[in-house]
Chain length 285, copies 4
């Protein structure tokens, strides 16, 4: 009876980096960087021979050292790091660098003061020695429509108690990731701004018969606004808001008082693809 | 050997309420409400006689039922609830209602679409059957200055390794609570807006020799902008940003690359009082 | 119009320390230490003069350095640190050191292998230059009785919907803190073991008409088992378990299937005092 | 320019269920259940036609209703639910049910009292209408060796600062999942107990040159103890413990005082396969 090593990877998770660019006014870049490497790492698993194992501590150091030259857009920074690890570490055949960027607004009192804003921008770059691909995204973009959402026509069985509704609150915390067709340098900021704007717009403007319909509408609208995107994946938790029954208190409740529930929650996941776009089979989640 | 019941209180924590006001455009009020009651509750503790125990479930129901009439400012809503519990439940002598309000921005595509923003507004109203007092506040207001902060002149002992610095990042997540001199109806929104604006402005504009100095400046500036405030208390975690030593990599680091640390963190707490303001001895934390 | 500094304190929160004692078998002490100092700190608040401010970085260093001599019981370690700060830092008049200790079991394969267990032991020592007091405790001790709990006889009003029950699940996550009458050296471990055992026993053995009754029984039983304790305070969230209505599916539910709710939750807080015990007025929360 | 729907699925996440079995002594089963369905769901995405969408509310109801008949082992309960959704909902072609089970110990005072213990048991069953597969596992099993761990022989580059070590603390929080070769009924509890015991034993007993070596040893030892397992996947965060430099305080530190770091952390992921085991290509993560 014998065993073998299967898929494996390793890296440094959640290196916290803040870069300050100092001029007449300052700007800040607030990142959490996770580097993940794969390659011929059988030796360390089977015998503890670490000849091929670039330490995760070195990966962390590299993140900080590379930031000395400037970070720029997180997609570019992730690509730089991913290429570096594959090109310089002999045993490493694939590197994936995931970055989360916190949002900060200026406090318009000085040129060096900031207040944190909601939402997180994300980017993941993967490089395998030959080709690279870049996925941009957003996390924790919490949105709500107080009307314009129905849900009915679903199948009923023995376990159905949900009433059909022609008017409900629809709320979710958007996690979305969109894959660029080409890894080459783009205007990432402009692409991001358009995608985020379109996520918000499509969420708001879609008269929704299901959260799935909203998901598809959001994905399609993002892709249709940027020819450089091949695919988008969305994860939309359905943050349920239940109309509270006030009848026991002699009160009606015409769509005014809701209980916002934590758990359980619906979870809708789906992808929208541009037909004929390259790289449909990539494992980029 | 005998024992006795000491201070005690009970209530319902974290009732999640979203109220929708529907007109040509909708507006939402997103609250987490905690009610806490105290009074003559010896019987339930000693014998399980619940004659005086207004159930926490009823407290939750009351929150939802009262919202049917509208919520308005959270200070008013907290006061309404606190007065109700004391006035209607015979055994209850003191009620404290704490509300946290999530921030939402409009998505300017429809009149009924919203995106969650950073920061939380808070209010606590306490009523003891005779007098009431109201504390307003903010939580999780995360701010950073990339310069304008020094720290030196501190005592050195055997355990000192911290270097003095004439230029460091100063970052914190502000929790602040300010007590109103009178519980009567005010323009709470205007008062809140001024206080928050002044917290941001004082944080940004204060050239800081210590986070304590910044704390006092923030508190004083809030009080000086609103004659209706008696006192303010601030909790300011010092979110350390350490300049990364890049020398091992042959690089300098002229204030550009920082490690943002999680733990441990400094924690600075302090109050600023208006001289002669009423109610200095109130236990209102 | 003038302002003044009110109560204030500062310190280093959540210093993470693991000490290893190495002999034939190893033992570990896994602590999170928070030090809080107060004294004459007006200067730093008003002018940024840090002459009296022992840096929080030095406080952290002191925690690690003191651990070199051994930690022992967390009550003793907290006392050592609290006395040191007051005795050595001229401006510091009161120090409070709070320690949380994680629980680890041995993996009985080697003498140096451990697996983390549930529950956290806590201790807080306060020293003001003259007297000291010590509070021991436990956090996150989650317990459940599946029967032996009733709740009825409570007042009904317009907002009551809760049904009376003669059999319900009672579950809570115990936070308890007990104050020792004398700060002098005790067998803290023995005292802790007895208190924890009695918390569990009293929770289990009390036939409960209200969570308040259970709280008092737990507190009284802890005090009655240790003459060295003056007072105990408990915080008991009521972790509601709701019987699921299975009637829509043609099923009964004789106390078998429950929904475990997150929010809102009841929160019961109370103290039990030994009559005539010293220090009843201490602010030791 | 046209778009198409890609992979998609939906379900109800984190339904909280506690089942009580009442006899002379009671027993409890504390579960968090996530159901995820996939199938021909194009209509709801493109047009909002919900004919095929079994509501997530119904999925939740089904979880509770099925618990009325008893839960048994979580692997069996997950399989029952997965088969039900595929067999009864026409549009659903694949169901995945993930269950997390909290650990509770008895309080040996009554037959109906329990205290929560550390660690979480997990199971995921997937059914596609023809075949089923079952993955069991554990989450948050936090373990530490205070010696018996080295790390050296790794490649050095410009960014290396990590010193080689022949004695370090090795600590991790194990997430492990093992796939059963056959979905048929097994003695899941016995299989789980053996796997968990072997994870602990292999972690403790492996003299480790890298966390990867420990990972492989743990995986191999689990598989070698249970012929019914085809594969195991492990995620091992390297919970770094750094020896504190006490030299500035005139102290040595012979492996006694450590700083337990939060972030960043190493993250080691890998699989061990039984050679020739079926289903190597299954997407079961």
């Amino acid at each position: 009876m014998t065993f073998q090593l299967g898929d494996n990877q390793y890296g440094k998770a959640e290196t916290r980096l803040v870069r300050v660019d100092r001029g007449d006014t300052h700007s800040i870049t607030d990142l959490t960087v996770t580097t993940t490497l794969a390659g011929d790492l059988t030796a360390t698993h089977l015998t503890g021979d670490n000849t091929g194992v670039l330490p995760t501590d070195t990966q962390k150091n590299t993140v900080y050292a590379f930031a000395r030259d400037g970070v720029g857009e997180i997609e570019d920074f992730a690509l730089r790091l991913a290429r570096h690890f594959v090109d310089s570490a002999p045993a490493i055949e694939r590197a994936r660098v995931r970055i989360e960027q916190a949002s900060w607004d200026r406090i318009p009192v000085t040129g060096h003061s900031f207040a944190q804003a909601a939402g997180t921008r994300t980017a993941t770059a993967t490089y395998d020695g030959e080709s690279a691909w870049v996925v941009s995204g957003v996390r924790d973009l919490t949105v709500m429509n107080t009307t314009g959402s129905e849900f009915h026509g679903f199948p009923k069985d023995r376990y159905t108690t949900l009433a059909e509704t022609s008017d409900r609150i629809l709320a979710t915390a958007v996690t979305a990731r969109w894959r660029h067709s080409e890894p080459g340098t783009r205007d990432w900021q402009d692409s991001f701004d358009r995608a985020k704007e379109r996520l918000l717009t499509a969420f708001a403007a879609t008269y929704s018969m299901s959260l799935q319909q909203t998901l598809y509408a959001m994905g399609q609208y993002v892709l249709s606004g940027d020819d450089g995107l091949a695919e988008i994946r969305l994860e939309l938790p359905n943050k349920h808001h239940f109309l509270v029954d006030l009848e026991p208190f002699g009160l009606d409740n015409p769509g005014e008082v809701y209980l916002a529930a934590d758990r359980p929650y619906g979870l809708i996941e789906g992808a929208v693809l541009r037909e004929g776009a390259p790289g449909a089979g990539l494992a980029w989640w």
